[in-house]
Amino acid sequence: MEILLAVMIGTLYAAGIYMILRRSLVKLIIGIILLGNGANLLIFLLGRIAKGAPPIIPEDSKVFLEAYSDPLPQALILTAIVISFGLQSFAIVLVKRAHKVVKTDDLDEMNATDEYS
């Protein structure tokens, strides 16, 4: 399964980069989101995955009795997911503003933004 996940992560990265390399503004945002998803999954995978062993200590115990999946990457990813939402919304709004001011949706025409204020 790990191999399939690794390939999936590669696909997400490839798709993300490909979308970022497009000239359309909206595609840029979609690329960033895909890239973020790929990064989250990559961290998750590298922390090793396990089925049916959530990192929650059983009710009647003070420590883990059985194997558990790694809680550290999960904590990292949890905040990353929420932060990426902030990033996405900011990027969307930025694109909206830029679109309104520069009046183009072609990234290549935004290479001389000094003329706009």
């Binding site: 790990e2 191999i3 399939l4 996940l5 999936m8 590669g10 696909t11 997400l12 990265y13 490839a14 798709a15 980069i17 490909y18 390399l21 497009r22 000239r23 359309s24 503004l25 595609k27 979609i30 989101i33 998803n37 989250n40 990559l42 998750f44 590298l46 995955i49 396990a50 089925k51 049916g52 062993a53 959530p54 990192p55 929650i56 200590i57 009710e59 003070k62 420590v63 883990f64 999946s69 809680p71 550290l72 999960q74 904590a75 949890l78 905040t79 997911i81 929420v82 932060i83 990033l87 919304s89 900011f90 709004v93 909206k96 679109h99 949706d105 990234l107 290549d108 935004m110 290479n111």
Partner: protein, 772 residues
């Protein structure tokens, strides 16, 4: 000692707030700062001349060897006294010179900053802090040269000076790091003890080259001398203080300071003698062609700096004594001449020596000061200049086979320095007063008293050389590695060769002064040689460099986001891929360690893969957004399967919100464009796919390595014991790494405020514009 250094900086910060009170009559009070410091350092004189070194150590960044170590030995004390003593006179002089100037407070601020930096430079015992102060002096010099910031010439000279001294600072940093690496310490005191091993080191040559580079740029040695005449665009107090008496001597200080560490080697001595010799003669000849008083003084200053480098290069005890005396001599008479020039400029409105004459009739005290200083610079007995010149000749005569050549150069230079001194100190005051200058009058005593004090001091020290030899000069000679030296300065040595040479110098110099008159035509004549002058060559090189960097920037910073991204990705793929494939014989994948694939996982993966393809290939925004939502929910399911319930919940909520967000703004977002042609798409596709493959390979590579779970296990084991929580993910977030979480929610807040302000605040301004 630290507080003494900081006083200058504190004073300049204080002026930021209280500057407006110091512009008027109170301005002269600023001079109390250097006066207090002067008295403070003077109080150390008995202890230092008794051979003591006063130290103060403050640990700053001990792990980097960056400590604030200060040491006050003879060399430091001499410079400290010059900095504060001349500083005091210059501060007082400025109060009258720039009276009523709009930015007088700013000027004092720069001067205070410079004074602090210069004191720090000469007191630092740590090479790194010395470098910092070194740069600070360059920066304050930049501000002061460009003080008349409305004049283009001023600004140009300031940038030129900063470029030259700044690149010297860079060399100093490189040299300091190299030296620190070789010696294993940044303490200069400790380096003296390690001198032998440093000299033996394979990096010795590099260290010497770098230190020389720093010293030669700062002290305006040929071929880097050209910034100093330009620096004379600064107000005269600055020329007096920075570009004659103190800052330009920082390079000399550096060389003296490192004589016991690096000196004594062939390369050290020969280079210094050659560079110093060329500089002193070249600059001295230049004085013949100048008509601007400050130009004459600038070139004669460069010449004297050359003499000092030359003396350090000779390296004998006699030569170093001569250097120490010469620093004092030069500071006394050259500062006087600059101050006198400043008065002339201020009152007569011109510095053109061909138009100045007979001023003694209207400003006698100034004339006396100029006259005394000129005689001292000429080396006339019984002035201190005579003592200095004698020592120079004595040290050149001791140099064995080369003594004749060296002595002739020294004599020629001294003749020309005499000429320069006479032109600046005597010529404007003799002869017939021109009509236009009859209304010139004596300025306030604040201006004429400082040069008189300095000139008289030169005479007094000359008559009683014992005033300086034991207390000041001997500790300097001790500090530069000639411990136990006997220093006795004498005015009268009896009739010998040196006296004869002195007499020759005086006679020839006097004849030269009487026969050669400064004139415009000569100045124009030498200007024709400008095309091979170091200034022109280095400016040309600078322009070349500028156009090269423009070209370079145009290629790499072309404003196309896609090009930046593809460049980064391309290099990443090539470099990482290369090392991945060359360091291993393929990637060992341990299939047995992987978990089994179940059919429902494969279905989820298949859906996700299709969704990603849909996102990439979608022709409309809505399709792309929906497909992206599917990708998100599929990831959410992966989290569910692989025991991450918290992540699954979060991913689900965020995915929902993201889709909602997109749906809300979709109508106002730019159109979904497909502009690129097939060629572009193919190239980008290959690039992204190879990047994806690289990521997959890296992931597999990491998976085949053993994993260290120390940190995770600590959290898991202690979640309940220490933090009374059973959901370890949540315990990490709110307890173990709580500060991180606090930062994260702050970032979220900033993002929200960013969104809010981008949309709301700008819209309001648009509204306003509409109303107008």
């Amino acid at each position: 000692m630290l507080s003494a250094i900081l006083l200058g900086f504190i004073f300049s910060i204080f002026l930021v707030f209280a500057g407006k009170f110091f512009k008027g009559k109170l301005a002269v009070l600023s001079s109390l700062v250097p006066l207090a410091l002067f008295l403070y350092f003077l109080s150390f004189l008995p202890r230092v001349s008794g051979g003591e070194v006063i130290r103060q150590n403050i640990e700053w960044v001990p792990s980097l060897g960056l400590n604030l170590n200060f040491a006050l030995d003879g060399l430091s004390l001499l410079f400290s006294l010059l900095i504060t003593g001349i500083g005091f006179l210059v501060f007082a002089y400025t109060a009258a010179y720039l009276k009523g100037h709009d930015y007088l407070d700013r000027f004092y601020g720069y001067l205070g900053m410079f004074m602090g930096a210069m004191l720090g430079l000469v007191l630092s015992d740590n090479l790194l802090s010395m470098f910092i102060f070194w740069e600070l002096t360059s920066i304050s010099s930049f501000f002061l040269i460009g003080f008349n910031n409305t004049s283009e010439a001023s600004r140009k000279s300031a940038v030129l000076a900063l470029a030259i001294t700044g690149s010297g600072g860079f060399l100093l940093l490189a040299g300091a790091l190299l030296l620190g690496g070789v010696a294993g310490t940044y303490s200069i005191t400790e380096m003296v003890g390690l001198s032998d091993s440093i000299v033996q080191s394979e990096y010795y040559l590099w260290i010497v080259i770098l230190i020389f580079g720093a010293a030669f740029t700062k002290s305006a040695q040929f071929p880097f001398h050209f910034w100093l005449p330009g620096a004379m665009k600064a107000p005269t107090p600055v020329s007096t203080y920075l570009h004659s008496a103190t800052m330009v001597k920082a390079g000399i200080y550096l060389l003296l300071r490192f004589t016991p560490v690096l000196g004594g080697e062939e390369i050290w001595n020969t280079t210094l003698i050659i560079v110093g010799g060329i500089t002193m003669f070249y600059a001295a000849v230049h004085t013949l062609f100048r008509t601007d008083l400050k130009g004459v003084l600038a070139y004669s200053t460069i010449s004297v700096l050359g003499i000092l480098v030359f003396l350090i290069g000779l390296g004998t005890q006699y030569a170093l004594t001569a250097a120490a005396v010469y620093i004092i001599v030069h500071a006394l008479y050259k500062a006087t001449l600059f101050l006198v020039t400043g008065i002339i400029d201020h009152e007569a409105g011109t510095r053109d020596v061909t138009r100045l004459a007979g001023l003694r009739k209207v400003m006698l005290p100034v004339a006396i000061a100029g006259f005394l200083a000129a005689l001292s610079s000429a080396g006339m007995p019984p002035f201190v200049g005579f003592v200095g010149k004698d020592l120079v000749y004595e040290s050149t005569l001791q140099m064995g086979s080369w003594s004749i050549v060296l002595t002739i150069i020294a004599i020629a230079t001294n003749i020309l320095v005499l000429y320069a001194g006479f032109v600046a100190g005597i010529k404007p005051f003799t002869g017939k007063l021109p009509e236009g200058l009859s209304k010139v009058h004596l300025p306030s005593f604040l201006m004429w008293l400082p040069p008189v004090i300095l000139a008289v001091l030169g005479l007094v020290v000359g008559i009683f050389p014992a005033l300086i030899d034991g207390p000041l000069v001997k500790p300097v000679v001790d500090a530069v590695g000639m411990a136990g030296s006997e220093v006795h300065l004498k005015l009268w040595h009896g009739f010998n060769l040196v006296l004869g040479l002195s007499a020759l110098t005086l006679a020839v110099g006097f004849v030269l002064y009487l026969t050669v008159k400064p004139s415009r035509s000569k100045e124009r004549g030498i200007a024709r040689l400008d095309f091979i002058a170091p200034l022109t060559l280095i400016t040309d090189f600078g322009n070349l460099f500028k156009s090269f960097s423009n070209w370079w920037t145009r290629i790499f910073q072309n404003g196309f986001l896609r090009n930046y991204v593809s460049t980064i990705i391309l290099f990443l793929v090539v470099l990482v891929g290369y090392s991945l494939f060359t360091k291993h014989d393929g990637i060992p994948i341990d299939f047995s360690s992987f978990s089994r694939m179940t059919y429902y996982e494969m279905i989820i993966m298949g859906i996700m893969f299709l969704a990603v393809l849909f996102v990439v290939g979608a022709r409309s925004r809505l399709t792309a957004v929906v497909a992206m939502g599917v990708v998100g929910y599929a990831i959410c399911l992966m989290f569910v399967i692989y025991s991450a319930p918290d992540l699954a919940m979060t991913q689900f909520s965020i995915d929902t919100l993201t889709v909602i967000l997109f749906v809300l703004v979709l109508s106002s977002l730019p159109k979904y464009l497909s502009i690129s042609d097939y060629r572009m798409k193919a190239i980008d596709g290959i690039l992204s796919i190879s990047f994806g493959v690289l990521i997959t390979l890296i992931a597999l590579e990491v998976l085949s390595q053993p994993v260290n779970k120390e940190v995770s296990n600590f959290y898991a084991d202690n979640a309940y014991v220490l933090a009374k929580g059973k959901n370890v993910v949540n315990v990490i977030l709110v307890d173990f790494r709580g500060v991180d979480t606090l930062m994260e929610i702050s970032v979220l807040t900033i993002a929200a405020i960013g969104v809010f302000s981008l949309l709301k605040l700008r819209l309001r301004r648009d509204d306003r514009e509409l109303k107008d």
